[in-house]
């Protein structure tokens, strides 16, 4: 029983099962966190941009190149079989992470951006026609806007945009009124990277399916914070990036329903995506390999699977509860800073806090905080339409992972007081 255990403020009992969340023990798994920047302990608060990697992930990359490296799906020799098996085990791990029906529905990509581009390029070019409509939202990341703009321009289709309200929530009535028989595809982010808004994903998908549209979800921000079940969601495509969920950069995965992947033409041509090639005709490989041309990022796939395992061992209920505690603590403390306004005040939020300071530009905030050892992101966060919506050029953004602490939030707030004093 958690009640009988002596706790300090770094060890808190969370959830119905009172599993202990020991942040110090988790921090010990992340070598990069234990360094000083400009003489101060690093407070890494830019997790929405990329997350840090636990030692098991770093070791998996090193182990692969020291003991397993060979090209996959080709060799009949031992090493190639070991590498192939490790890579395909990683695919099974991603399948389990997303609760997909089959590994044939899991395509390794370079990241969420490539996953979305794959759908726009392959599904979009085959199935979107002139006069069709594609729906996106104001809060989407540029990577979930630009591919659809390119597609619509090429096809003569119309891009429709769901607006957001002053809290940074999607205006669902407006969404309902945009949906029609012309709507062929709806693309949106599960969680907003600049506002932290957790979108009502089930409802958005259901409403799209009622008019027969397919749904593409950008899950880059969701994967590190919340469990994903693509079958329960009945989502058509779901993309995420390894590096945002404590894995390496340059690797990610796209889930697609088998019936769509079967009907889609390949994304890129090359080795591994074919069954046979003659100079007259090529027969494409089965799923998922049809969409994986060329030698992939093998060590990346294997190490990403280690990261997903790591997250699974901590457990999403524990992560969500701890991060929610950090979010509430940060929100409350930041509101007390003179002239600070939080941008993005949705009812359901991930641990992301964007803010602006009266008369201090985010870039100046970022530079001054850096000298305190605090890493935050400043700028438009690849969401310029969100900045336009709120009539601001940029924000400062602190985004938290399960290895962040309340002490780091205290340091952030203290440093912001310093910024305010300096610019008085």
């Amino acid at each position: 029983m958690a009640e009988t255990i002596e706790m300090d403020d770094r060890t808190i009992a969370i959830g119905k099962n009172h599993k202990l969340f020991d942040v110090e023990r988790i921090r010990a798994d992340f070598p990069i966190l234990h360094q000083r920047i400009h003489g101060k302990p690093l407070a890494y608060l830019d997790n929405a941009a990329t997350s840090q990697k636990p030692k098991v992930v770093i070791d998996a990359i090193s182990h692969y190149y020291q003991a397993q490296n060979a090209n996959i799906h080709r060799g009949v020799y031992y090493l190639s079989e070991v590498a192939t098996q490790a890579y395909e085990q990683a695919r099974e791990c991603v399948r389990s992470f997303l609760n997909a029906a089959s590994t044939e529905e899991i395509i390794f990509t370079r990241g969420a951006t490539e996953g979305i581009n794959l759908v726009a390029h392959s599904y979009g070019r085959r199935f979107i026609q002139q006069g069709d409509e594609v729906i996106i939202t104001t809060m989407d990341h540029h990577s979930n806007i630009v591919p659809w703009q390119i597609l619509c321009e090429e096809k003569g289709a119309q891009l429709r945009v769901v607006p957001i309200d002053d809290h940074g929530e999607l205006m669902m009535d407006e969404y309902a009124s945009l949906l029609s028989a012309k709507t062929k595809l709806v693309a949106f982010g599960h969680i907003s990277n600049s506002l932290g808004t957790i979108n009502p994903i089930e409802k958005i998908i259901q409403m799209a399916h009622q008019v027969g549209a397919v749904v593409v979800v950008d899950g880059a921000q969701a994967a590190p914070h919340t469990p994903i079940d693509v079958q329960a969601l009945d989502v058509d495509f779901y993309a995420f990036s390894g590096h945002k969920v404590f894995g390496p950069t340059g690797i990610g995965a796209l889930y697609g329903k088998e019936k769509w992947l079967d009907a889609m033409p390949p994304y890129q041509g090359g080795g591994d995506m074919i069954k046979s090639v003659t100079l007259e005709k090529t027969i494409y490989n089965d799923l998922p390999y049809k969409f994986e041309a060329g030698t992939p990022h093998i060590s990346g796939g294997i190490a990403m699977a280690k990261a997903l395992d790591y997250v699974g061992q901590i457990g999403y209920p524990q992560i969500e509860a701890y991060e929610n505690d950090l979010l509430n603590c940060a929100t409350e403390a930041l509101q007390k800073v003179d002239g600070l306004r939080i941008v993005g005040t949705a009812q359901h939020k991930a641990s992301v806090v964007s803010f602006v300071l009266e008369s201090v530009h985010p870039h100046d905030v970022g530079t001054i905080l850096d000298r305190e050892g605090i890493a935050i992101r400043t700028g438009h966060h690849c969401t310029q339409p969100v900045m336009d919506r709120f009539h601001i050029p940029a924000t400062s953004r602190a985004s938290f992972a399960f290895y962040n602490t309340k002490e780091e939030i205290d340091r952030l707030v203290e440093a912001l007081h310093k910024v305010v004093r300096m610019f008085q």
Binding site: H361, T378, G379, P393, M422
Partner: protein, 151 residues
């Protein structure tokens, strides 16, 4: 405040940020340009009145960080009444100062020397040079309105 931060945010820079000089539109203007830094979203419009190869008046508008705003403000006070050629030469020296590529002659740079601290913050050099790039775009443009980006 830390001394190294004070090297960047010198009092004169904070003053110019709060109360920028020549912070207005010129109408009419013989030359103008819009400058944009996509990294941080800084936007600036520069207006020039050039007569016989000499900048006789200058104004600017826009939004940006303290470094970019103060740099624009100081720049307007310095280029006024200088010839186009003198301004171009000065810009080269200023670029060298903020990127740390050359050891500048502080006497020659005058008031611009307060931006020497920027060289320790490589990501901020573009903030300091945005207004200068915009002036160069305006001077080099044949059309009425030019657009320049730091990228």
């Amino acid at each position: 405040m830390d001394t190294d931060l004070r090297d960047l945010y010198q009092e004169i820079i904070l003053d110019h940020n709060k109360n920028p000089k020549n912070f207005h539109k010129l109408d009419p203007a013989s030359h103008s340009a819009e400058g944009y830094n996509p990294l941080c979203g800084d936007k600036i419009n520069v207006y020039l009145q050039v007569e016989d190869g000499k900048i006789v008046d200058i104004g600017f508008e826009g939004s940006g960080c303290a470094i970019s705003k103060a740099s624009a403000s100081v720049m307007t006070t310095i280029v006024k009444n200088k010839t186009v050629e003198e301004v171009k030469a000065l810009f080269e020296k200023f670029k060298g100062l903020v990127t740390g590529k050359v050891e500048p002659d502080m006497l020659e740079l005058g008031k611009l020397a307060v931006f020497a601290g920027v060289r320790d913050y490589p990501s901020r050099a573009k903030c300091a040079t945005l207004s200068w790039h915009t002036v160069m775009a305006a001077l080099n443009s044949k059309e009425e309105q030019a657009i320049v980006s730091t990228e």
